[in-house]
């Protein structure tokens, strides 16, 4: 029985260190490299209230790089944990956090903002985009639940939920397609960029909001790690182990919607991170959900941090949408994982 600590040991601390290093590296390198001494002195100045005396490099560090690096880690964590939660809940390894329609709805909300905002010629402030995206994400998720009958039946039919999710995703993505078709050129470009995900909008208020959502949701997820493990045996068996399966599903889905909608609202749709992260962890050590949640938060941050560096550095000073990087790297990784027969049998 003492195999447990041996089985899961080592990975979490290693990922923690990797996350620190990646975050530091993505602060250090960009279109302009920032010296470590500048980082230290900028932090010192900012904390002592001497913000006026900052040099250009120091300002880049404080106002662009640092919030962006932290936001990247938080969004990566949200996606990694969301993926772990959804795969556990659906008892299915090919599920990703956007499955119940959340990210497609968020994309639609954002596209609507880009097109309508310009058409109405109103400036709605920097909050309008996240609010539009969150509303869209919540709406589409709600529709998936209404239409799948998940709210009425005593027991949620996972298959119904899955298929309804696919349908609603398609519906909202066609809405996004329609909006980009009627959009004028710059709006269409915004929509495209946003659909592929970007962290270029990072600022401290985004960090605060995504940070609060990530921390609360990860803490909540950890409380449900054990019942989610029991769910691996099936819904009935979990019930026999004293798990209130209905409540578990409701809470975990809610947590996932908040994670995905809030992260998507600030960064757009970032593919494949939520899908690949739990797989990698299961291959590394095992399928225990506490390990997948903590590890998923860290590994999600690491992978998205690396992807963001590639996105920023590959064609610097311009940058790629990060979703392109995560897909280009994620697809082959995913296909490779699927070929590892010894993993699933």
């Amino acid at each position: 029985m003492s195999g447990r600590s041996r089985q899961y040991g080592g990975v979490i601390p290693a990922l923690g260190i990797a996350l620190l290093l990646v975050t530091l590296a993505s602060i250090r390198w960009g279109a302009v490299p920032i010296a470590l001494s500048d980082m230290r002195s900028a932090l010192g100045l900012a904390l002592s209230g001497g913000g006026d005396a900052l040099s250009l490099d120091q300002r880049i560090f404080l106002e662009i790089r640092l919030p962006r690096a932290i936001l990247t880690a938080l969004v990566g964590a949200s996606l990694g944990v969301g993926g772990a939660l959804m795969q556990a809940l659906f008892r299915n390894p090919i599920v990703e956090p956007g499955l119940v329609g959340t990210s497609a709805g968020a994309a639609f909300g954002a596209a609507l903002y880009f097109v309508m905002g310009a058409a109405l010629k109103v400036h709605m402030g920097s909050w309008a985009l996240p609010i539009a995206a969150c509303t869209g994400g919540a709406l589409s998720t709600w529709m998936v639940f209404r239409l799948s009958g998940a709210h009425t039946a005593g027991r949620t039919s996972v298959v119904a939920l899955l298929l309804t999710g696919i349908a609603i995703n398609a519906l909202f993505m066609s809405g996004v397609g329609f909006l980009s078709y009627i959009a004028r050129d710059p709006q269409a470009r915004s929509i495209t960029f946003w659909n592929l995900g970007t962290l270029s909008g990072a600022n401290w208020s985004a960090v605060a909001i995504v940070g609060a959502s990530t921390i609360l949701c990860v803490a909540a997820s950890l409380r449900y790690a054990q019942p989610l493990n029991a769910l691996m045996l099936g819904e009935e068996e979990a019930g026999y182990l004293g798990v209130d399966v209905r409540r578990l599903k409701a809470v975990v889905l809610l947590v996932n919607v908040v994670l995905v909608a809030v992260a998507t609202a600030f960064t757009g749709v970032i593919a494949f991170v939520g899908l690949v992260v739990p797989h990698l962890l299961r291959m590394l050590r095992g399928a225990d959900n506490r390990f997948l949640i903590i590890g998923g938060a860290l590994l999600g941050g690491v992978l998205l941090g690396l992807a963001d560096m590639v996105a920023r550095l590959l064609i610097a000073p311009a940058e790629l949408p990060i979703g392109i990087v995560t897909s280009v790297v994620g697809v082959p990784v995913f296909l490779f994982l699927l070929r590892q027969r010894r993993y699933y049998f």
């Binding site: 029985m1 195999g3 008892r91 390894p93 299961r282 095992g286």
Partner: protein, 259 residues
């Protein structure tokens, strides 16, 4: 003691249980048989609170099911179904440890580890602890599942009972495993505080091992009692639609032959 009184359960227009009253006593192996669609699985689900009956009461000892919290019930009552599909690759010890989930949150205590170890030893799976559950054969997996459900209710509490409900857990196993498991379950009954209620398909297996036999047909109890009383040719024919020749051995054993 586990009793169901006047249990009825319908889904849409099908009456799966129609006024079923049953009593299962501690220290005895009680088996339920019946043709397909007789309501055997429904009975297990109603008794275990997986399904809510439209009428009737289930009592664990004298306490109606409504008076049990999920956790208290899960600490005293374990259920094993015929085919547990594991969604992800887990080690065998992780699967068995799940049986202890009603007893701990976070890290398992010493009592949990000991219960798992003893249950694993009892079903001869202790050596497989680090193996991937998904690499095991069907019979091996079911041994692990038996260890899991027994780990859940491993420890006796003075003055209290433990309940084990089995929903055709032997169906996919070959004859050697079927005998092996039923022998082990019988041996566990010697503790005296364990109530075992099981659904089995094989009539001769039921005849060989049961202390108490219930025949269910069309959602009703057709016969209930010792195997020798219950397994009459007429009763079996009425329930299953095929007439056996009943052979009675010298030691009171019964054998049904079908032609």
């Amino acid at each position: 003691m586990l009793t169901g009184t006047d249990l009825s359960f319908s889904i849409e227009h099908a009456r799966l249980l129609d006024g079923v009253s049953v009593t299962f006593e501690p220290g005895k192996l009680s088996l339920v048989i019946g043709p397909n669609g007789a309501g055997k699985s429904t009975l297990v689900k109603v008794l275990s609170r997986q399904l809510e009956p439209q009428s009737g009461v289930v009592r664990y000892d004298d306490r109606p099911l409504a008076g049990w919290s999920e956790r208290d019930l899960a600490r005293a009552r374990a259920v094993l179904s015929q085919n547990v599909e594991l969604a992800f690759p887990l080690r065998v010890w992780e699967v068995v440890l799940m049986g202890r989930y009603p007893h701990f949150t976070g890290a398992p205590g010493a009592a949990d580890e000991r219960a798992c170890e003893e249950a694993m030893r009892y079903f001869d799976v202790l050596d497989w602890g680090a193996r991937n559950y998904l690499t095991l054969s069907g019979g091996e997996r079911q041994r692990v599942q038996f260890a899991r459900v027994m780990a859940q209710i491993w420890d006796s509490t003075p003055g209290a009972h433990r309940w084990l409900l089995l929903d055709e857990p032997l169906t996919f196993l070959d004859i050697r495993y079927q005998f092996d498991f039923l022998r082990r379950i019988r041996e566990l009954l010697n503790a005296g505080d364990l109530v075992v209620m099981g659904v089995v398909h094989d009539l001769n297996l039921a005849a060989r091992f049961a202390d108490h036999l219930v025949i269910l047909s069309h959602g009703r109890v057709m016969a209930s009692g010792a195997p020798a009383e219950v397994l009459q040719a007429d009763t079996v024919e009425a329930a299953f639609g095929i007439r056996p020749t009943v052979q009675r051995g010298e030691a009171g054993g019964i054998h049904l032959l079908f032609e």
